[in-house]
Symmetry: C3
Subunit: 304 residues, 3 copies
């Protein structure tokens, strides 16, 4: 879990993913010699801060978003949300402005719910703050801010080790309105004819989804994937005997929104471990669900 811990500590809120992109490009360069197949790496320039890895003759693409939620400093001591972070007085935030490194705390006004920071000096307008990473590992769990979606990124990187045919995509802006998957999906469809997608992201523990009972295959969230594609995935998961749970939600979204609404005919399915304490500094995931997540991705990329 050292890789996961390293990923969780990198400052990469939506719109400013560059540090994590750099880390991944370095990691890929270092590690790919030990991978079964060496991918074509597409990055920089027209890919902005995204990365596309192309392995063999791809039929399916895995999307994992790099960016995290956070806060932007507005005027005075006000904070504005990046994405939808939970906020509670005392949450520790980190960042950096021209005056140096910052370690401050969130203050939520009890009456107005307005957000501000508590710090010994004023922070420069527009500075991004992210949760301070307190990575905790037990025999059965990992806990940290930003498991959503550094765990989805970790899953994609681990998948690369044995992947023979497929596309792995690291996207930006997912937590805050999207903005990269539309062009990534267009590029992949036009250059490789791929239009099957798996969304490597983290979902919620709910009354129907329980920690430790396996990776979640989502039948729907705020959007509804094509039934026949999801049914095919369920059949493969059952045949391979990978522990999994089925999710049915009426809200929530992912990189799949841009696939669904884009001008290419993508089929997609959200598949990811469930976490509790969503969008807080204390996101927690059961290790068995991480294991079944990777196992399911491995089999699906072979058989879909």
């Amino acid at each position: 879990m050292q890789l996961l811990q390293a990923l969780c500590q990198i400052h990469a809120p939506s719109g400013n993913e560059a540090l994590l992109t750099e880390y991944l490009l370095h990691y890929i360069q270092q590690r790919q010699q030990q991978w079964r197949i060496q991918p074509t790496v597409l990055a920089g320039g027209e890919f902005q801060d995204c990365i596309i890895l192309v392995f063999g003759k791809p039929r399916t693409a895995v999307f994992a978003h790099l960016d995290s939620i956070g806060f932007t400093v507005r005027y005075g001591r006000e904070l504005v949300r990046i994405g939808g972070p939970n906020a509670a007085t005392g949450y520790q935030l980190v960042g950096r402005d021209a005056q140096g490194d910052i370690a401050c705390t969130v203050v939520v006004d009890e009456d107005t719910k307005a957000l501000s920071y508590d710090y010994h000096r004023e922070i420069e307008r527009g500075t991004e703050l992210t949760f301070r990473c307190d990575f905790r590992e037990t025999a059965t769990t990992v806990q940290s801010c930003y498991l959503d979606n550094r765990l989805g990124v970790w899953n994609a990187l681990r998948l690369c080790e044995t992947l023979e045919n497929g596309v792995v995509v690291f996207s930006c802006w997912e937590e805050h309105g999207g903005g990269s998957v539309a062009y990534l999906a267009k590029y992949i469809y036009e250059h490789y004819g791929v239009r099957q997608a798996l969304i490597s992201d983290i979902t919620w523990v709910t009354e129907g989804v329980h920690p430790g009972q396996g990776v979640v295959i989502s039948l729907r969230d705020s959007l509804i994937p094509r039934r026949s594609y999801v049914e095919g995935i369920r059949r493969i998961a059952e045949a391979a005997d990978v522990p999994h749970q089925l999710e049915v939600e009426g809200s929530g979204g992912s990189d799949a929104k841009e696939l669904q609404h884009g001008a290419q005919p993508w089929d997609w399915c959200f598949i990811g471990a469930p976490e509790d304490n969503v969008h807080t500094p204390d996101e927690i995931v059961d290790k068995r669900d991480i294991e079944s997540m990777l196992a399911l991705y491995q089999v699906l990329m072979r058989e879909l």
Copy 2:
């Protein structure tokens, strides 16, 4: 109205339109010999569950969505909406899971408005339920669930009988966030240069739109079409003396949303009969408005 009745009875909620697609492909194959022109039929593969029919040298495309509203079974006896169905305790629903055919009823919690079903057994998670079809015809009206949009589909199929030049499109996901028109519109524009659209769908009876007073030409809903295109349509409707009404709404949407927001310069206009009891099992339309709807589409496809 036998065709309309058959269409209303087919289970095809957003994301699982395949049964209706299959029905239409069979119908088109059977009937097209009697049509004035035999179209090119584009379906399957990259068109997912959509169908495009290309007649002659097209200048205008008609969009009719296949999918309907409904419900997804969540956890326990909970239901989640597909699109925006009206829900009232006692509404009859049908569906199918691995244990067989289902006929249950909706229960709306009076306090929380939460939706659930009443049935003698538990229904499998993720099962889709749609309104049971009770098709009723009088001398002056038709009444059923899913006139929105099986009547729009019916109108498009009847239009095919005499169509010489034009594109007819059967789309998916319209009731639940869209997801097919973006790529259909791109395909049609790039392959045929067509960028004029008519939306063959059903609208609302309101204080300004009355049953029996003719097909509705919508001047706007939540979106505003290009004025000059809609004015051209009004002039043709008036010159042809087809009974029609003008609608002005601040809300509501259609497949036109994806045309408006897509990366091709489509002009579009929503033209359809008005219905009462919208999104219930008892949608009702005046036959005179069906007649003028078809008549207006026939003249517009010749003259636009």
Copy 3:
């Protein structure tokens, strides 16, 4: 400011921008001989009511929207909003229907907030009404309806006088859901390889943005632009010593929404003068901020 006054008086609500398009095409034809470079003018047909001007070898595109907010006449004396106009009883509106020119006033129901008009006759269904223009200029300010975004258009036109390399785009529908930038952005990217954008539009005076303190560079609104692009712009503005202010908002949007969500990898930044009395007939802007806006666009189009 005669050009600005002329622009503010033209009726061009979202969806019916044609009169302003015509005015601009005429203006461009008349004036371009005095411009440093004569641009390629793309308009009509597949560009609907938009205009693209291409100067030299472009690296950056400026987007200015033509359309304004307003009202549509619904049924009886009801009004429906076009975009998000402020409404107060007594605001003067103008328009035209088949019976002739109209000058009426807004009525806001105190209890229901419902909008209607007060006029001596009924106005035809679907008629668009816009604010009556009362253009007021002092030594230090301009005041009128529709400074948003006729001032953005004015800035773009003045920029054309000295522009050597760049694209200037006049877009439609910005105030009401968008609908043209997606295809304009695709066209520009595919034909010229340009993917840097500046949004020439007007923003708000707030507790952090003050009239007279310079053009606003927006670090974010409801969307977040790529940090590295915005940082580059800030560096150029500082090096050139152009007075400017930094904005951080959690809401609001612009033509940038379509760039962010489209299928090309655009970088974008909103740069515009701030106004007070937003979306009323009395929008007011400080002349110093107009001056620094044009100055900043001139330097950015050279150096970006």
